[in-house]
């Protein structure tokens, strides 16, 4: 067993975990159940988090290698009382159905817009290519990212 300090959504946490644990299991164990387990093989993207601001599949990252790092989950972007424009846009466009892929989908969108505030549809697709959704057919997800990008750009002006 190991003990380590992790920063989740800006808060310092101490976790106890096994040497071979992956971040997905550890972060859920620590109560961050908004990180979802869909396949545990990097194939669905439901477990994506931002590690030092970079989008990764948390099932593909060993916990030990993330010690001391900043981790952001969807709960770190906004809350139901003060949602992030992306969270708002997903709600408004109908991009949320069962919602299981949604936290990771929003984080992917966030990572994309950080790098590229005004993405084309093709760039949106590329940015979200590791996140599977079985409910929506992605149409409204693309619409949501477009909507949020527009609003965030307007806000920055």
């Amino acid at each position: 067993m190991r003990k380590g300090i992790f920063s989740v959504n800006g808060r310092r946490e101490e976790w106890t975990y096994h040497d071979d644990d992956v971040l997905l299991d550890s972060i859920r164990e620590a109560g961050h159940t908004e990180v979802h387990r869909g396949c545990k093989e990097g194939g669905c993207g439901c477990c994506a988090v931002l590690l030092e601001g970079v989008l990764v599949n948390s099932c593909q990252v060993f916990t030990a290698s993330a010690e001391g790092r900043d981790i952001t989950t969807v709960a770190g972007l906004g809350t139901i009382h003060d949602p992030h424009p992306l969270q708002q846009a997903f709600v408004e466009t109908g991009a949320v159905q069962c919602g299981f892929c949604t936290p990771a989908m929003i984080l992917s969108s966030y990572a994309l817009l950080q790098k590229n505030p005004n993405p084309s549809d093709e760039e949106i697709r590329r940015g979200l290519d590791g996140n599977s959704c079985r409910c929506t057919g992605y149409v409204k997800i693309i619409e949501a990212v477009r909507l949020a990008a527009g609003r965030m750009a307007a806000h920055d002006e």
């Binding site: 979802h36 969807v74 997903f90 109908g94 299981f100």
Partner: protein, 774 residues
């Protein structure tokens, strides 16, 4: 009250979506319970065999192991995992722990341990000795006397339906009207074709999960990722031998179902283990287990013969379906029935019709409910078959369909003939805007510009194809839903429904229906679904029933509450009830005097002032018919003649679901179903090795379409009004998955002239077809 609707027909925000987008939605695996034990299964490594001995001694000695359950130590009765009404139309042909294994991946037993890792390690250490038995992989050989019989014990069908395990027949549907042979004799030509469809998986993003714990009264509470909480409670009681009143099933947020969670798979095991050890238990499948131990779409062989006269009239149609139900008969009879009952009524003017359907056992994964439910398989054959006949006649496919499909005011003999384990229900179609769906869809895809033009760019050739389908709205005279509602001090309402939102948005649309009936804004409806302790019964989320059946229950319930409100208001205002109207925003108005009273005053009056009582209501609904939604779907594809690759460029769905309660959610259902159907058509398949083991049980090799694969997707809602539906609504959740495979196959034919009769339409198959054509 004006006719202008305030909520129905409006794209209000899905009520749980903000919580889900902010990571606040809790799914079954997210609940922390006190000191849980964990369950891990061990499975058959053989397609078929008898268990001779199970040695669990070394596994029991491993760290953290609490118990191990298997046929050697745990007796369990026959039941079905199919989450259907009672008694189920599926045979009782399995036990929690069978002493005979019938497919590679069949559950042999499970380990209960302090951690998941310990449970899995011990599960791998249980030694099982088998007597191998011959496998049966080919459904065509299931009736062969030389083939093994998979169920030759006490298995039985709890309903009086055809069940002949001695012939490996898990279900049978026979029906005809007119004289098919005479019809064929009158025909100028007979189109005679065989189509084959394949295994597929639902791939809901959330794997199946159950979390069991005890409440302070010692009752067993199950959080479960289920589409059918009430069936789950009943089946847990039956299979695990726990009194039903000691069980509470709570459905939290569900990460998609598509039929895969209409199966009561994990709940009985988690309940059994928790009940024995009086501790919390968590059971969660990993993705590979979802593929092999979860349920699948039943593969079909569809043999279709149609007699046609030169003038284009169809004289007879004969459908002979062979369905592979795998090792157990979950949903066997009913999926099979739907392959006829949802398909044949579409061309209702054919005078001579026969349907012979047989569901047979094999030593392969188990079929189950899957969005489309047999109609998907049937329509793959039907639409290509009819496209071919139209081409033979030299008629445009769309014109061919328009002059033959069922219309408003018409019926079909099939409705009465084929039910779901019972006789069907006769009905007249009272809303059908399929012609408009066809016209608007054709316009959107560019039918006139593309059809038959074979526009070529290098090796790529363009084609366009269409498919038309219908489905139902619940199972008539079988599916029952109920709702209850009470009024609060401020004029808000608690709405309790058994209807099970699995991500579809049913909590939202049922709230819209209630809010519409009571003329209050959406936030005044506080909905809770579904909890077997709190909410009234509902069969659950399946058979395209929620909007129509549960919606009617909610509407009736809300109207009942409304009449109580009016009666209290009448006594408050001292005027006759019939002079009062309910006004938007929650007011009751006496128009003649201009006096009005708000809902909150009415509520407070009834709660605190005089003749006190709780304004409340409850209602149930069981449909006496199952109005069909209709859809026309269109695919524009490019086919690479040198590699066989098929690229779906554009896809259009135009559907009639009556009055859409929430157009955005309606579009979402269609778009999701359409893309899922495209995956089913092109890339999703179960690959087996020679021993019947699935070799691609993960997302790296079972390929579902991702965001990069999305074609230009257009969705058209053609409104109609279904007189029997709540505010004119019909269903929409399933139908959109039926059209993509045949529309794409018809488009491939349009592009390169090969008829693809076997799913999936992989590049290799297309290339082989092209080469054998040359």
């Amino acid at each position: 009250m004006t006719n202008e609707r305030s909520l129905v027909g409006k794209s209000v925000k899905k009520i749980d979506s903000l919580a889900l987008a902010c990571g606040r939605g809790k799914y079954t695996a997210d609940f922390s319970v006190e000191n849980p034990l964990h369950l891990a299964f061990f499975y058959s490594p053989l397609a078929h065999g008898n268990i001779l001995a199970i040695d669990d001694t070394p596994a029991r000695a491993m760290d953290g192991v609490v118990d191990i359950f298997h046929s050697g130590n745990t007796r369990s009765g026959l039941f079905t995992t199919a989450g259907q009404g009672f008694p189920e139309p599926s045979p009782y042909d399995t036990r929690l722990f069978n002493s005979r294994v019938r497919y590679h991946g069949d559950i042999v037993g499970c380990v209960l341990a302090e951690s998941v890792i310990q449970a899995r390690a011990a599960a791998a250490a249980v030694k099982v000795e088998y007597e191998p038995l011959p496998p049966l992989f080919d459904p065509e050989q299931s009736g062969d006397p030389a083939s093994p019989r998979l169920h030759d014990g006490e298995e039985y069908a709890p309903l009086p339906v055809p069940y002949r395990p001695e012939e490996n027949v898990a279900g049978e549907v026979l029906f005809s009207f007119g004289d098919v042979e005479k019809g064929f004799a009158e025909a100028d030509f007979i189109a005679d074709e065989t189509y084959r469809t394949h295994y597929a998986n639902h791939c809901a993003m959330e794997p199946h999960c159950t979390t069991a714990f005890f409440d302070e009264k010692g009752r067993l509470v199950l959080y479960s990722s289920t589409q059918v909480p009430f069936h789950a409670r009943r089946i847990v009681s039956q299979a695990a031998g726990i009194p039903l009143h000691r069980i509470r099933v709570i459905k939290p947020r569900i990460g998609g179902g598509f039929g895969g969670k209409q199966e009561v798979l994990l709940e009985p095991y988690a309940a059994l283990a928790a009940w024995k050890w009086k501790r919390s238990v968590k059971a969660e499948l990993d993705r590979s287990e979802v593929f092999t131990t979860g349920r699948t779409r039943h593969p079909f062989r569809v043999h279709m013969r149609t007699g046609v006269k030169k003038d284009g009239s169809i004289t007879a149609i004969a459908l002979d379906d062979l369905m592979n139900t795998g090792a157990y008969g979950a949903h066997a009879l009913t999926v099979l029935s739907n392959a006829g009952s949802k398909v044949l009524p579409l061309f209702n003017k054919i005078p001579n019709v026969s349907f012979v359907g047989r569901a047979v056992y094999t030593t392969l994964p188990v079929g189950g409910a899957y969005r489309g439910y047999g109609a998907t398989q049937g329509y793959f054959a039907f639409n290509q078959h009819m496209d071919g006949i139209a081409r033979t006649l030299g008629v445009d496919f769309l014109d061919f369909v328009k002059s033959r499909h069922i219309q408003e005011g018409e019926t079909s003999e099939v409705f009465k003939a084929i039910g779901e384990g019972t006789e069907g229900v006769s009905q007249i179609i009272r809303s059908c805007k399929l012609d408009e769906c066809i016209d608007r869809g054709a316009e959107a895809i560019g039918w006139a510009r593309l059809r038959g033009k074979r526009i070529t760019s290098g090796p790529w050739v363009k084609g366009v194809g269409a498919a038309v389908t219908m489905q139902g709205s619940g199972i008539p005279k079988v599916d029952m839903a109920s709702a209850s509602m009470k009024m609060n001090d401020d004029g808000s309402f608690n709405l309790l429904v058994g209807a099970t939102d699995i991500g579809t948005g049913s909590d939202t649309i049922l709230s819209q229906i209630a809010g519409e009936a009571l003329a209050v804004p959406l936030e005044k409806i506080i909905i809770l679904s579904s909890d077997t302790d709190l909410t009234p019964f509902d069969v659950g989320a399946y058979a395209s029933s929620t909007t129509y059946v549960s919606g009617q229950a909610v509407l009736r319930c809300a109207l009942e509450v409304r009449s109580r409100i009016l009666s209290v208001a009448a006594s408050m205002l001292d005027v006759p009830e019939e002079d009062l109207t309910v006004e938007q925003g929650g007011r009751v108005l006496h128009e003649a005097s201009g006096r009005e009273v708000s809902y909150s005053r009415i509520a407070c009056h009834s709660l605190y002032t005089r003749n006190q009582f709780q304004i409340q209501g409850s209602a149930s609904f069981c449909g006496s018919e199952s109005p069909a939604p209709f859809m026309a779907q269109f695919a524009e594809v490019d086919v690479d003649r040198e590699t066989g690759k098929v690229r779906v460029v554009s896809f259009v769905s135009a559907g009639d679901c009556g009055q859409p309660v929430n157009p955005t959610l309606t579009e979402g259902q269609i778009e999701g179903a359409a893309l899922s159907g495209i995956g089913y058509a092109l890339t999703e398949e179960y690959l087996f090795d020679s021993r019947g083991r699935m070799t691609n049980n993960g997302f790296w090799d079972y390929k579902i379409p991702g965001i990069l694969d999305l074609p230009v997707m257009k969705t058209i809602i053609v409104p109609s009004s279904e007189p029997s539906g709540p505010y004119g609504a019909k269903s929409i959740s399933e139908i959109g998955i039926n059209g993509p495979a045949p529309a794409i196959a018809n488009a491939i034919y349009d592009a390169v002239g090969v008829r693809m009769r076997e799913l999936p339409l992989t590049p290799e198959k297309v290339l082989r077809a092209l080469q054998s054509k040359e």
